[in-house]
């Protein structure tokens, strides 16, 4: 069945794949973006169809419902304006006090909205593709979040789209702080023991002092330089001792629903 020439081609292909697997990460990232660029017309078509369907759905909403929604949005807007004014005052006060103490000034978050265009087709990774890239100011390692909390970090960037690695993926570890306790920090890692629990991750390397309680909020700590401090991650669900009580591990329910992401915010530097 297989001829000699077939065997030669097979050996050549196997060698080519082995070489491909050994290429450095940067080159592989560029190659991946180039190959996945072939899917751009289909992604465009898919998002246009989504938009058209959304518009069609909006056209079917009755007028009184739209008026009610506008009124609600107007009220929300007024409340947010008031909170913004208050927040601006707090911000100025914070900046002044930091200046007096000689602390580094906090930088305001700059965000860019991105649409999720694809998810990782393999079941053993948690990643997705967004429709923003270098031309929108997106760079590698920038935090990605929703209004509910942290989602992940930008892994690789192309001209018009980027790959985002999500919380719960083994490639992403985040320094986290349990709010309400003193100096209780840990590392957010993939829930390898039970990855079937969608929306659950492990908070590892907590101290053995047993200060963490279920219901406490977990936010980014700010150590490591990738994620600024204070981005919500989730809530502690339960805590268990580890390594004969030398350290503690907690399960965290993520604030953002990673299974239903349509749009995300990329935090620009």
């Amino acid at each position: 069945m297989l001829k000699k020439s077939h065997y030669i081609i097979l050996i050549f292909v196997v060698l080519a794949v082995l070489v491909l697997l050994q290429l450095p990460g940067g080159t592989i990232g560029k190659l991946k973006l180039a190959i996945s660029g072939l899917f751009l017309p289909l992604f465009g078509l898919s998002s246009t169809t989504h938009e058209l369907l959304g518009q069609a759905k909006e056209d079917l909403v009755p007028r009184h419902e739209l008026i009610r929604q506008i009124e609600q949005l107007r009220l929300d807007n007024q409340q947010l304006q008031l909170r913004l004014q208050q927040e601006a005052e707090v911000w100025n006060e914070n900046a002044r006090l930091r200046g007096e103490l000689g602390w580094q000034r906090q930088i305001r978050w700059r965000m860019v909205l991105a649409r999720v265009i694809a998810r990782d087709p393999a079941n053993w990774w948690r990643s997705l593709e967004i429709d923003r890239g270098l031309k929108d100011g997106v760079r590698a390692n920038l935090p990605v979040l929703t209004s509910n909390g942290l989602v992940g970090r930008v892994q690789s960037v192309g001209e018009t789209r980027s790959s985002v690695v999500l919380l719960g993926d083994p490639n992403l570890r985040v320094a986290a702080l349990v709010s309400g306790t003193t100096n209780e920090t840990g590392v957010i890692a993939a829930n390898v023991s039970a990855p079937q629990e969608e929306g659950m991750i492990d908070l590892d390397l907590l101290s053995g002092a047993n200060l963490v309680r279920p219901g406490q909020n977990v936010v980014t700590w700010g150590a490591g330089g990738v994620f600024p401090a204070g981005i919500p991650i989730g809530k502690i669900v339960d805590v268990r001792p580890k390594e004969f009580g030398l350290s503690t591990e907690a399960r965290v329910k993520l604030a953002a629903d990673l299974s239903a992401l349509q749009e995300v915010w990329v935090m620009l530097p």
């Binding site: 899917f39 990782d120 393999a122 079941n123 719960g168 490639n171 993939a190 023991s193 990855p195």
Partner: protein
């Protein structure tokens, strides 16, 4: 050799990878995404030639890996191995039988993930593995098994519709025509 069937299979592989990345119906319903490339490989290996197998493994694998965190090329070799294994023994396999298609599809779907994971682990990356991976593996195998007969039906119909079909010989023979009436 006609290139049309190969092009159809490659187009289907492209579309399959796009659908796997874009639509999460099975992921939301079963907790795992179904991979359609092993089913396509079973059809290709039983119907088309060596070049088609090679092209499907290389293109399909690279397309899949480009949208995934897999190291680029990790899916190529398992697909190629599945294709070559079936191709080598295709004289012995009952191509038209539904149970054979189901079993071959399921076997291909069951072989593909461990093969890819083996390459991933050897390439130094650490995928998300746990007890749930067994469930993923079963869903992928069952999904591939179910998709294989659909692949056969669709592609056979497409081939019949688009390819030249030689006219079949009719049983009509002028010398055996029955002449009615009085001569």
């Amino acid at each position: 050799m006609s290139w049309r069937p190969t092009l159809f299979v490659l187009a289907a592989a492209f579309l399959a990878v796009f659908l796997e990345a874009s639509f999460g119906f099975f992921r939301n319903l079963l907790g795992a995404q179904i991979d359609l490339l092993p089913a396509l490989m079973v059809y290709t290996a039983l119907t088309l030639g060596f070049t088609s197998i090679l092209l499907l493994a290389v293109c399909g694998g690279l397309w899949f890996d480009s949208l995934s965190l897999n190291p680029l090329g990790a899916s190529v070799l398992p697909l190629l191995v599945i294709g070559i294994l079936i191709y080598r023994s295709r004289e012995l396999l009952l191509r038209e039988h539904l149970p054979a298609q189901l079993i071959l599809g399921a076997a291909a779907g069951a072989l593909q993930p461990p093969g890819t994971l083996f390459i991933c682990l050897n390439a130094g990356v650490r995928p998300l593995l746990g007890w749930v991976s067994l469930w993923h593996w079963m869903v992928m195998a069952a999904g591939s098994g179910a998709a294989t007969p659909i692949c056969f039906k669709l592609f056979d119909r497409l081939r019949r519709a688009l390819e030249y079909q030689p006219a079949t010989q009719t049983s009509f023979r002028p010398d055996r025509e029955i002449k009615r009436g009085k001569s």
